[in-house]
């Protein structure tokens, strides 16, 4: 009797320990948390408490200011929905950077991180998300190299689309600074020129 009781408890504890859920859903406890939690506001922390105290804070740069080292902001504002006036006006804007002095490896890196997933590493509009129509992304990204429409698109208009978005493509203004966006556009333009040149030599 006693023996079976002992065996039973052993079995129960072993099963309890073994079947214990391994997923950790709590961060655990801290012992004497001096200087563990910041008294200042940490990144990502909610700033609602400030609002209650009447402090205005929205984490955006003050209008009319710009970051050090960045380019002048794009002079053209976004179209109202359904309008295309500014989209066409942006054709006149030229790249403010000196294209010869752009670090193209950095521009390529920016392109591959931000645009390549849709527009493809070869800029053929066939990135891993589209995969010739089999991927999960249902809209065809623009064929930046190899389609006359985009080959002849002025850089200012491309910049407009990268800044404010175009139809299904979103705005990249939050991920890339003005300067970085111009660098990416310059990279796309440099690729387009290269392909156009190799095409004409192939025909000769």
């Amino acid at each position: 009797m006693k023996k079976s009781l002992i065996i039973l408890t052993v079995i129960i504890t072993v099963i309890a320990v073994a079947s214990c859920n391994r997923v950790r859903r709590t961060p655990g406890r801290t012992y004497m948390p001096d200087m563990t939690y910041s008294r200042a506001y940490e990144s990502y922390a909610s700033t609602d408490a400030l609002k209650k105290e009447g402090v205005f804070y929205n984490a955006r740069p003050v209008t009319g200011t710009m970051a050090r080292g960045d380019e002048m902001p794009f002079p053209i504002s976004e179209d109202k929905p359904g309008d295309t006036v500014n989209y066409f006006a942006s054709r006149q804007v030229k790249n403010p950077l000196n294209v010869a002095s752009i670090d193209m490896t950095e521009a390529e890196r920016l392109y591959l991180v931000n645009c390549g997933i849709c527009h493809g590493t070869k800029l053929d509009g066939n990135g891993p998300l589209y995969k010739g129509g089999d991927g999960p992304y249902p809209a065809k990204p623009a064929t930046l190299v190899g389609d006359a429409k985009y080959e002849s698109m002025p850089e200012g208009q491309m910049f407009y689309s990268a800044t404010y978005g175009k139809n299904m493509m979103g705005s990249y203004a939050s991920q890339l600074t003005t300067k970085e966006r111009w660098m990416v556009i310059a990279y796309i333009k440099s690729k387009q020129v290269k392909v156009a040149v190799t095409d004409t030599t192939a025909k000769k």
Partner: protein
């Protein structure tokens, strides 16, 4: 999925091919190329995007007449002026379709027959191999259970054997006529008791120390996030670069968590989850990816039926639960490690590309940081084109390397163990 016999599948396939190759001699290939070159930017066959979905096109509006369709494609604005059906579409979609004056009637026929072929292919029952591959359920601690059961069985067998042994001994003693005292049962046997308490002491002590060391650390922490957002689907299967979302890791202390508009860059168009494998949470419950994307739309204030009227400035932030948390008295910068040190994210965060829900991989203890600083070699080679010029100031080390006194420099050598590098 509907179970279907191989013969019936063959029949439907056959019917499908007949359907494609019958009637007008058109290659679907042409239609596909034309569709992808001109129309796919705005039109999906099955889903409304910038423009309406094009499936069952011929059953709507005036489009059963391909001449009308050609007229529309040549000049939508002019067509719309005299056709109330397309004017209605315009109010719904907000923009006027681009004109394609170069397309011919044959091109339009090819595009329509490509669309019809795709629709038929989607409606015909799929073979078992084309379904979602690679389903997997997390094997929650089943190994541990198996080990527990096996060791339990072994322990019981050992006990029984010992009992049998003592019984046999008693039998043989009885036979030989030696009189011995009645054997004490094992739970009153002093040796057993001492043995068990030593084991309990060691095991208990181990867990107690481990628990005490682990106070304030959260290795393995895996909270339930407001949206079941899977890194495996995004960064693994779909190969999205970590820096697309965590761009800050390249240029700041924080890696940054993407805001809703970054999610919407893709999810404006991707409104269902259908290409990836089935998803399960850690308890083995199945997750409906499409419903999770709907949650994202709630935060974004986005209505997939009326995508052109979305106003990103009305979006609400998602309150993700922060997993990695160094105490405030430690300084850590991503830029130094990711950009300067060229350390892979996976070194510190584990195989994120295989995790559905992120969990803290490293213990983030001081020993863990310092160990890595002791072992990690830094790239000391620089010249005018590559390498880190900052290291040129360590002249002594360069001389030592040249003289063969040192063969490599670790983070420790350039001050990676100084307390004030991490604490100030």
């Amino acid at each position: 999925m509907i179970p279907c016999k191989p013969t019936s599948r063959k029949l439907t396939l056959f019917a499908f091919f007949i359907f494609i190759f019958s009637g007008i001699q058109l290659s679907a290939q042409d239609g596909k190329a034309l569709f992808q070159q001109h129309c796919a930017v705005c039109h999906n066959i099955f889903k409304p995007m910038t423009g309406p979905e094009l499936m069952n096109l011929e059953e709507r509006g005036p489009w059963s007449d391909h001449n009308k369709l050609l007229e529309w494609v040549h000049n939508p604005a002019a067509f719309m002026a005299k056709d109330p059906y397309t004017t209605g579409l315009h109010t719904q979609y907000g923009i006027i379709m681009t004109p394609f004056p170069d397309l011919t009637l044959k091109d339009v026929d090819a595009i329509v027959s490509y669309i019809n072929g795709e629709v038929a292919a989607k409606n015909s029952p799929k073979g078992p191999t084309t379904g979602v591959a690679g389903e997997e359920k997390p094997s929650t601690s089943s190994n541990a259970v198996i080990f527990g059961v096996i060791s339990l069985i072994l322990a019981i067998i050992a006990l029984i054997l010992m009992q049998v042994n003592s019984n046999l001994k008693k039998l043989s003693d009885d036979k030989e006529g030696i009189l011995r005292p009645e054997p004490v049962p094992f739970y009153r046997n002093k040796i057993y008791i001492a043995f068990v308490s030593i084991i309990l002491f060691i095991v208990g002590g181990y867990y107690l120390t481990k628990g005490a060391i682990g106070l304030g650390r959260s290795e393995g922490y895996q909270p339930i996030q407001p949206i079941y957002y899977s890194h495996k689907v995004h960064a693994g299967i779909n190969q999205i670069n970590c820096l697309y979302c965590h761009g800050g890791a390249w240029e700041s202390k924080q890696a940054s968590i993407p805001s809703v508009n970054v999610c919407m860059n893709c999810h404006k168009a991707i409104n269902t989850y259908e290409k990836g494998p089935k998803l399960y949470d850690e308890d083995g419950k199945e997750i409906d990816g499409t419903a999770e994307i709907q949650k994202l739309y709630k935060y974004a204030g986005f209505d997939p039926k009326n995508s052109s009227s979305w106003d990103p400035s009305k979006a609400q932030p998602i309150s993700w639960i922060k997993i990695h948390n160094l105490p405030d008295y430690v300084f850590f910068s991503h830029e130094q490690h990711v950009r300067v040190g060229k350390v892979q994210c996976q070194t510190c965060h584990g195989e994120i590309t295989a995790m559905n829900e992120v969990k803290q991989f490293a213990e983030l203890s001081m020993g863990w940081c310092v160990n890595c600083h002791r072992q990690t070699k830094i790239d000391f080679n620089y010249d005018s084109t590559k390498g880190n010029k900052f290291y040129s100031i360590y002249e002594k080390f360069h001389d030592d390397i040249k003289a063969g006194k040192m063969d490599s420099i670790t983070v420790k050598d350039i001050g990676g163990l100084e307390c004030q590098k991490c604490h100030y």
